[in-house]
Amino acid sequence: MNWNQLVTQLFGSYHGMRAAGDFLKGDVMFDGRPLTVVGTTNHAPIGVALALAQARVILDTIAQHPGRAILLLIDTQGQQLRRRDETLGINRAMAHLGMCIDLARRRGHPVIGLVYDQALSGGFITSGLIADGCYALPDAEIRVMRIPAMARVTKLSEEVLTALSQSNPVFAPGVGNYVAMGGVRALWEGDLAAALRDALAHTPVEDTRAQDGAERGGRKLAASVVQRVLAAA
């Protein structure tokens, strides 16, 4: 579904949100309380400008609306692949966005991420993956890299990678895999507003993803490795 249909389902037809190109932001009411919405649409490539635009919203929320919940709407093709953005330090801009979200969390703002279409790589690291918890619509996809580029870098053929993407949870882009691996807390189906309500009420602020991955069986080693390091002599 597109962002407008999503936001309408969540907040009603009079949500008042607008898209400015690929950039989404809005202040909505949910269950009688204001909530900040920020994110992207059109599978946006996240360049320096778009990272800063989102960071601005987070900073303003921290400064002006203590404790207000923030919903990140994620639809991105990942970082913008342009030399100009690299020259400008896109990794720094993305880290800045991530640190703004992280500060909001530490200041007591509940921060919920929702992948409603696509999420790739750096665009996901600085949004959903740095929220208190990330959720997804069932048909959404999360990837590290598109297969042709991945084939070039790994020297594995596109045929092999495509086969792995179908059969192997480590490679398959379906969000169900991310739930099994602990990267996504749950899928939102049916009554989306109820799912948001539940997320706002029950998303922990600690990073439970490794334990979730172990419990759900999708990522069996990470949590135990962390424990081994903590216990090592």
Binding site: L156, S157, E159, V160, A163, L164
Partner: protein, 111 residues
């Protein structure tokens, strides 16, 4: 199944009659990069020298045997486990790493 790459090949060699090395902390040399390998030496029970190779370059069994034989001839050590992760190193590089690993054994430990 043929479109998934063939797996890692594991080869094992063992040698006896070497001089037992005094207990030592594990030694690691090399890195697992293209054309390279890592070699780990560990103290082991018994007097033998056990060599395990895990390699992505399949089908070179006889060459590994020859390299292992040459290695044991140069360094007839016992009570040692040699473990290798290989990514297509040449026999010359393999022999070099094995020698480098033995050179890191404590003074007087090696033959």
């Amino acid at each position: 199944m043929s479109d998934i790459p063939a797996g890692i090949e594991t080869l094992d060699f063992s040698f006896s009659g070497g001089r037992r090395v005094a207990a030592f902390a594990p030694v690691l040399v090399g890195v697992v990069g293209s054309g390279n390998l890592e070699v780990m030496l560990e103290a082991a029970a018994g007097d033998g020298c056990a060599v395990r190779v895990e390699t992505s370059a399949r089908g070179f069994g006889p060459i590994w045997q020859a390299v292992a034989d040459d290695f044991f001839a140069r360094h007839p050590i016992g009570g040692v486990r040699v473990s290798i992760n290989d990514m297509g190193a040449t026999p010359a590089v393999v022999s070099l790493r094995l020698d480098q690993a033995v050179a890191e054994l404590p003074e007087g430990a090696s033959a």
